[in-house]
């Protein structure tokens, strides 16, 4: 006869000294955990509720400007610095960590319309409606940290006066060229007081300009003739143009997929395009109820932030038709510019109420150092939530957002309008000869034509 029974000595299974950690034994046998799925579901539900409870996205406001904030630029070389320009010609450098002005760049007489920083983080370029273009030296880190009081205004390195007002400026990602938008597109060099190159396509004002992050010679502009144009600096003429029903206010390139860009349109939607195929949008991002004023991609390329005239900031997935997040406060007015921070964890918005606002990119994210165990727990809850997100209760909790009354009403109205349009279209189709009316998909509906 051979026999063995389970025998556990207490010493082996408990700690020796009270300072020791408690010993943990694992057995992942599913039979020991009955009703796993129900338990997971309850965990997911709790996680969804907790996420709602901890959603406190607003970090703080930065006031100092005395007129509406019109444009911003982030310093690619310095994480916590951000430049902002206002309608009264004030340009400021802010320290995001302390939320204070570090430096002022006085000089502009009218509204500052464009700000950009060279890729090495040395030169700041500002331009405005006073027809001047100013180059500034970006103060080094040490000054930023040390004293705020003494000498906090800079002198420009150069001031170029040009024949027309400027609407925007953007620096090349690799190289020392930068481009301004105005009556035409001008390409400038750091060292010259005249543009090195100029492009013109039609007589309308170019309102925004953005260089491609992958191909340094490629740039996209939007103009007041409702067009989006693509330019190549190596060619003597502009490359492509697509005309839409409504004006595009701003453009942002996807930094991870540089062939794609998203255009912030006046009709309240954003349109993601592939440069190689401009006859249809890749994705239409709807949710804003008024024109979208500015757009900026996250450095990860997976999401972008938009600021709108409806006094809200929204975050979209790069391929999602609707926003994942919506930020608003009672005091925030029309949002004119938004930026994603270089570490993809904050959002800065500048609005008509003269303030810059700092938001968390993930509303319920825990700031500060997170212990490994805590992090693991967060990851687990995220995974569980993701697994059960299609269940109605969890979906409802995750999707719910409190909207300000005007936006809520406008959303409702827009829904009614689109519904009635759809109904009308259906009826028109039903009463016409079959095939005579073609249903245009949403992705091409707002495009008038493509010009080469």
């Amino acid at each position: 006869m051979r026999v063995k029974v389970i025998s556990r000595s207490t010493d082996e299974f408990t700690r020796e000294r009270s300072q020791d950690l408690q010993r943990v034994f694992r057995n992942f046998d599913p039979n020991l955990r009955p009703q796993e799925k129900a338990v997971e579901y309850v965990r997911a539900l709790n996680a969804a509720k907790l996420e709602k409870i901890f959603a406190r996205p607003f970090v703080g406001a930065m006031d100092g400007h005395i007129d509406a904030v019109s444009c911003m630029a982030k310093n690619p070389n310095h994480l916590k610095g951000i430049f902002s320009g206002s309608m009264d010609g004030d340009v400021r450098l802010w320290d995001l960590a302390t939320r204070r002005t570090v430096r002022q760049f006085p000089g502009h007489q009218g509204a500052v319309r464009g700000l950009t920083v060279s890729t090495d983080g040395q030169i700041l370029v500002s331009c405005g409606t006073d027809c001047t273009l100013r180059l500034w030296k970006v103060p080094v880190d040490t000054i930023m940290e040390s004293d705020y009081g003494s000498d906090n205004s800079s002198q420009p390195l150069a001031v170029h006066v040009w024949k027309n007002a400027f609407w925007g400026v953007d620096h090349q990602w690799d190289g020392d060229l930068f481009a301004t938008a105005g009556a035409q597109v001008d390409i400038w060099n750091h060292n010259r007081s005249q543009p090195v190159n100029s492009f013109e396509w039609g007589k309308d004002t170019v309102t925004s300009i953005r260089f491609n992050p992958g191909e340094p010679n490629l740039l996209a502009t939007s103009a007041s003739d409702r067009s989006i144009s693509i330019y190549d600096l190596r060619l003597s003429t502009p490359a492509r143009k697509v005309i839409m029903r409504t004006k595009t206010n701003s453009i942002a390139w996807n930094p991870m997929e540089p062939m794609n860009f998203t255009a912030a349109n006046d009709d309240g939607s954003c349109y993601s395009y592939d440069v190689r195929k401009l006859n249809e949008a890749k994705c239409v991002h709807k949710d804003h109820v008024s024109s979208v004023m500015d757009i900026d991609y996250s450095p990860t390329g997976r999401e972008f932030v938009t600021g709108s005239y409806d006094r809200s900031v929204r975050i979209f997935q790069y391929n999602g038709g609707h926003s994942r997040e919506m930020y608003h406060t009672k005091r925030m007015q029309r949002v004119f510019c938004v930026k994603f921070s270089c570490d993809a964890s904050y959002i800065i918005s500048g609005s008509d109420d003269t303030n810059l606002r700092l938001w968390k990119a993930k509303a319920s994210e825990q700031l500060g150092v997170i212990l490994p165990r805590e992090k693991k727990k967060h990851e687990y809850l995220e995974a569980v939530k993701n697994r059960y997100k299609h269940l109605s209760e969890i979906k409802r909790i995750i999707r719910h957002r409190h909207l300000p009354k005007p936006i809520y009403k406008a959303t409702k109205q827009i829904r009614e309008i689109t519904d009635s349009e759809r109904r009308k279209e259906e009826r028109r189709k039903a009463h016409s000869a079959p095939g005579s009316i073609q249903n245009k998909p949403l992705r091409t509906r707002r495009i008038v034509k493509e010009v080469e």
Partner: protein
């Protein structure tokens, strides 16, 4: 050539051992896979198909990782009892086992004689550390089984029919003469649950924090012990019984009745989920396998039946009377009748239970309850003269999980676990026959309409049947051939009628559907009835 042969042989050996290892791994992995993967080929959505394929691969990987980690995470090996030669395992006495095993284990074999308060019923906490024993005549004891210390003994001075632990060892409920009561570990009465009435059997649903009871009048009640809310009050309508057990797999409560039926209940429906006739006579005992697929029932007609709950079929019928039944964690089945305890085991691994061990408590003792101690090779026996504990090698799960049930739990860990389990308290709606359905998508249900041919064939058959109805001989003049023919014609018309109606209905519908689209909106909508 010779050299070549030599070369081949060792390589062959290596592949053999590899195969053995991989087979073992597959066996282990199967446990963690939790059933078959989804059939992705049937999906039309390519994107979803891709996403699910990635998920399935991940599941496979995690199962492999868990199977591999078993070697390190689960160091303790299970118990066993093997007979040599012509020796039989069921002839081996407890004394022989006690002499073979280590001292620590042999101490787990004992008899407590308490002749005055007898028959005793026992209950272990899920970690197997604490035991509650309740004598019919009012003696309740909470015992720490690790150091064999009585934590609390109390005499309630009235009949005690059953005792259960609540979510941890600090609280227990006792079914007494008129009402069930909740006590804490110090023996202080916390609650008197008057609404339950005179309860015969109590069960606690650990994940749901529900206390289920069945009373003298066959009323099944569920009470949430965290809020005190009475979740359900169900009249079973099948008479008085004290055979009730929770299926640990899904939380469904099964009640065995005197009519031989077993009914299964959930708190959210007043009708039983399942009502199965298991025995021709009254049911004396009932228990569930921890994996929830097997149920054992014992009837008054000296039969013990093992049921497959996935098909609701008898797997095996064992002879013998049984007053008490219990499945161990590893699937051994203990039965008791009179003073005789028998343990059946699925030794071949093919769900064929055969005799494994037997034990007789002292003659004249009447066994009331048998229950395996979790995570130990121990069977607790409650009988008319106290309680006993015997060793059944191979009955318990050798490796415990500290986060599930920890026999060495400290008070701090217990407190933390209490909070955790309260946060994860399941709603009563999550009790259902197949709990794996939670979170899955309901398949599309298409109503299959009978085709025209089917309807015609049915009509033909109905007409044929109508024609063949034999005619009675009636009084003079009423059985004339003409009358008979007329009657037959009428019967045929009558048989046709329902099918014709169906036909006409269908035509009406098709008229609507064939309208041009522009006119559809003018069709009168059906009034909501």
């Amino acid at each position: 050539m010779v050299v070549k042969v030599e070369k081949i042989i060792p390589s062959k050996n290596i592949t053999d051992t590899d195969e053995v290892i991989s087979e073992e791994m597959d066996m282990k992995k199967k446990k963690y896979l939790r059933g078959e993967g989804a059939n992705l080929k049937e999906l039309k959505d390519k994107k979803l198909q891709g996403q699910l394929a990635v998920k399935e691969e991940l599941y496979g990987k995690s199962a492999t990782a868990a199977a591999k980690a078993e070697k390190w995470l689960m160091p303790t090996e299970g118990g066993y009892l093997e007979a040599d030669g012509i020796e039989k395992t069921w002839r081996i006495k407890q004394d022989t086992i006690a002499s073979e095993v280590d001292i620590l284990s042999s101490r787990k074999q004992f008899d407590i004689v308490l002749p005055d308060f007898g028959p005793y019923t026992l209950e272990f906490t899920p970690s197997g550390r604490y035991m509650a024993a309740a004598g019919r005549k009012g003696h309740i004891a909470i015992v720490d089984m690790q150091n064999m210390k009585a934590i609390k003994e109390l005499q309630v001075r009235e009949t005690v029919r059953d005792v259960v632990f609540l979510h941890n060892e600090l609280f227990f409920a006792a079914a007494q003469k008129k009402y069930p009561y909740i006590y804490n570990r110090d023996g202080t009465e916390l609650h008197c649950l008057k609404e339950h009435g005179a309860v015969l059997k109590l069960q606690f649903l650990r994940n749901h924090f529900l206390l289920a009871s069945i009373n003298k009048f066959g009323q099944l009640r569920y009470q949430d012990v965290t809020t005190g809310q009475m979740v359900a009050n169900i009249r079973t309508g099948l008479g008085r019984t004290d055979v009730m057990e929770v299926n640990p797999f899904n939380g469904v409560v099964a009640v065995g009745h005197s009519g031989g039926t077993v009914s299964m209940w959930k708190p959210t429906s007043a009708a039983p989920l399942v009502k199965m006739l298991c025995h021709p006579g009254p049911i004396t005992a009932l228990t569930f396998h921890p994996n929830g697929h097997l149920m054992a029932t014992a009837g008054m007609e000296r039969k013990i039946k093992i049921w497959d709950l996935r098909k609701f079929e008898v797997l095996q019928t064992l002879p013998g009377h049984s007053k008490a039944l219990d499945f161990s964690q590893k699937g051994l089945l203990a039965t008791a009748t009179g003073s005789f305890v028998q343990v059946f085991g699925d030794l071949s691994g093919s769900q064929n239970y055969s005799r494994y061990m037997t034990h007789s408590v002292a003659k004249g003792y009447q066994v009331k309850k048998v229950t395996f101690r979790p995570y130990e090779d121990v069977l607790g026996i409650g009988h008319s003269m106290g309680w006993s504990s015997i060793l059944i090698p191979g009955s318990g799960e050798p490796n415990f999980d500290s986060w599930v049930a920890n026999p060495f739990e400290t008070s701090k860990q217990r407190r933390e676990k209490e909070v955790r389990s309260l946060l994860e308290k399941l709603p009563p709606e999550s009790i259902m026959l197949d709990p794996t359905k939670i979170g899955s998508v309901r398949p599309e249900r298409k109503k299959e309409k009978p085709t025209k041919e089917d309807i015609e064939a049915q009509m033909e058959a109905a007409i044929e049947a109508a024609k063949n109805i034999p005619m009675k001989k009636k009084t003079k003049g009423r059985s004339k051939p003409s009358k008979i023919a007329k009657k037959k014609q009428e019967a045929v018309e009558k048989a046709k009628k329902p099918f014709m109606e169906q036909h006409t209905n269908k035509r009406k519908l098709t008229e609507e559907t064939h309208l041009p689209k522009s006119l559809e909106r003018f069709v009168r909508k059906k009034t909501a009835a």
